[in-house]
Symmetry: C2
Amino acid sequence: MTLELILVGFGNVARRFASLLDERRARLAGEHDLDIRTVGIVTRRHGHAFAARGLDAAALANRVARGGPLVASRPSGDRSASSSVDFIRDAIDRRARTAYERCLVMVETTTLNILSGEPAIAHVRAALGGGAHVVTANKGPAAFAYHALARMSHRADRRFLFEGAVMDGVPVFNLAREALPGIEVLGFRGVVNTTTNYMLNAMEQGQAFDEALVEMQAMGVAEADASLDIDGWDAAAKTAALANVLMDASLTPQRVERRGITRDLMHRAIDARRAGRRLKLVARAGYEGSKITARVAPEELPGDDLLASLDGQQNALILHTDLLGEIAIVQRSGGLTQTAYALLSDLITIARDVGTARATPQPRPRAPRGRSR
Amino acid sequence: MTLELILVGFGNVARRFASLLDERRARLAGEHDLDIRTVGIVTRRHGHAFAARGLDAAALANRVARGGPLVASRPSGDRSASSSVDFIRDAIDRRARTAYERCLVMVETTTLNILSGEPAIAHVRAALGGGAHVVTANKGPAAFAYHALARMSHRADRRFLFEGAVMDGVPVFNLAREALPGIEVLGFRGVVNTTTNYMLNAMEQGQAFDEALVEMQAMGVAEADASLDIDGWDAAAKTAALANVLMDASLTPQRVERRGITRDLMHRAIDARRAGRRLKLVARAGYEGSKITARVAPEELPGDDLLASLDGQQNALILHTDLLGEIAIVQRSGGLTQTAYALLSDLITIARDVGTARATPQPRPRAPRGRSR
């Protein structure tokens, strides 16, 4: 089977995704009978490109990483797109048969406006509306509009997947969707933002807030606008997405009670560490009566708490469930490859789906004798 | 959809499973359109029972828990079964149409002979051979004969599921099968035996080995033959099952290098604890060149190791993967309900399967215009 991709956003994550697809080409063909071809790329600053026969996304990733434009010159047949949404609609239109065959996927990795969830939500609507599946590493759509988009996806009979939105490629959403049937999630707590986790770890060892922040930015871990991390917006968006998907809540990031980390936490972090405790930015959701509430705030945790032992780059989520009690999933290494894998894992989920739907139903031979009612 | 069950083994786990099915009847009907009916029960010591129209398994569980036999008197139509395998074959024969419709499931929870994997393996073969799916909380089949039984399951087009074999209902096998597509597991380490974990925790606080063991037995946590826990056999069987399924190894428990816990570990445990370290019975598997090797042995771990922080009843597994680096899954509460849920989750997996296979393929209207090749 061939899946065709429209890449919307072509930053670090999408470029690593493009190179990962290249590295895995033979294995995807061998193990999943899956060929993946990029037909369109649209970016905010580097232009756009479309080719029905496929683009060399890995080569384009290299070119863009070196500061070049997506296309050296406008190829024949290229249409000018006035916006990314127009580009998506146009690309789906050009690949209408592929979309009809359920083999067209938009891969969305744009930068999020944390106050609106845009432009990701508009991209998701355009893709599902045209008959393309959606795979995104963006937390915006699930944080702001999960139920509306899930309904749209259901009606369109196309998938809306976002495994990379929380804890990179560690399968939080997949776990709940596929591996915990019949389980009700009653609440959760976790450490889901890497920048603040790194910073608190540095601060408890005496490093100043601003110094730790500069280090995170140099490492490319912090968001472009670091206040999104520091003020807890990133964690709040992830918390809303988790609560919406795992607990069927209807939260937005704004409705998550939110306190971020501040300069004056350094002494508290140092004191906590000395006392065998750890200061962490903890995301929580749970029931208050019949209402689901969520919050993000610094919390002092006992040293033997699972969340206390997390290194800078580690994230973890502890689910409180009805039948299994507490189970936890821990991401012990993070990075671009993990997020790129999240996109790939969602593509494989779609390929399995399409494959199952295509499989010829087994012929039913005559039933053997039986004494059934 | 109705699934019919043949319960093979009716000890603590199966009896809790029977009461759980009763508690969840309305939710299974509402959320999964699933009715589950027990048609046969066979035990080693309490006799057997069969009723095509269904047994009241929860009531029978109560009776057996109070020391009673399964049946007050032999019901009309009952056949005497000379062995549990005969009972399985006979029950499938009586429910041949259900088996043919892929709606008959054997639920296997017998006591394991750790040196052979029997009688569970014979039960699995009999069930798959007759066209029943297999759900088991038993580690024997996956530890001793995973590949042979998986092939048999594939040929029979019936499922062979065993989520409860390791870490109760925490979805270790489901996670790898459903939620990590395209990921290669390169190795793992974990704490997977509860009795020894409890005992080491008690010993590091100065409790004597034998005292700790008696406590575990009183709590019903230790295996009936506690040497299976203490000598590391239980952990070795789980390690073999994990390596076979997650890494495609061909191990048996005997081929896992194995050291259990001994009386003389008390002082080492106390010293380790004082030095901020923890002594744990660690299960490991990994590659040595192209060969997969596995071992179970006491290891002294740094205090901030994820495995070090586990309480007595907690288990954890850290997977080392190619694309995601390390991810961990932690069971923070264990017990009969968790194991019973594992069986239920496997049943829901089967119901989803059968439901998907039955779903009518979507009619394909004429394709819209498109410029595809």
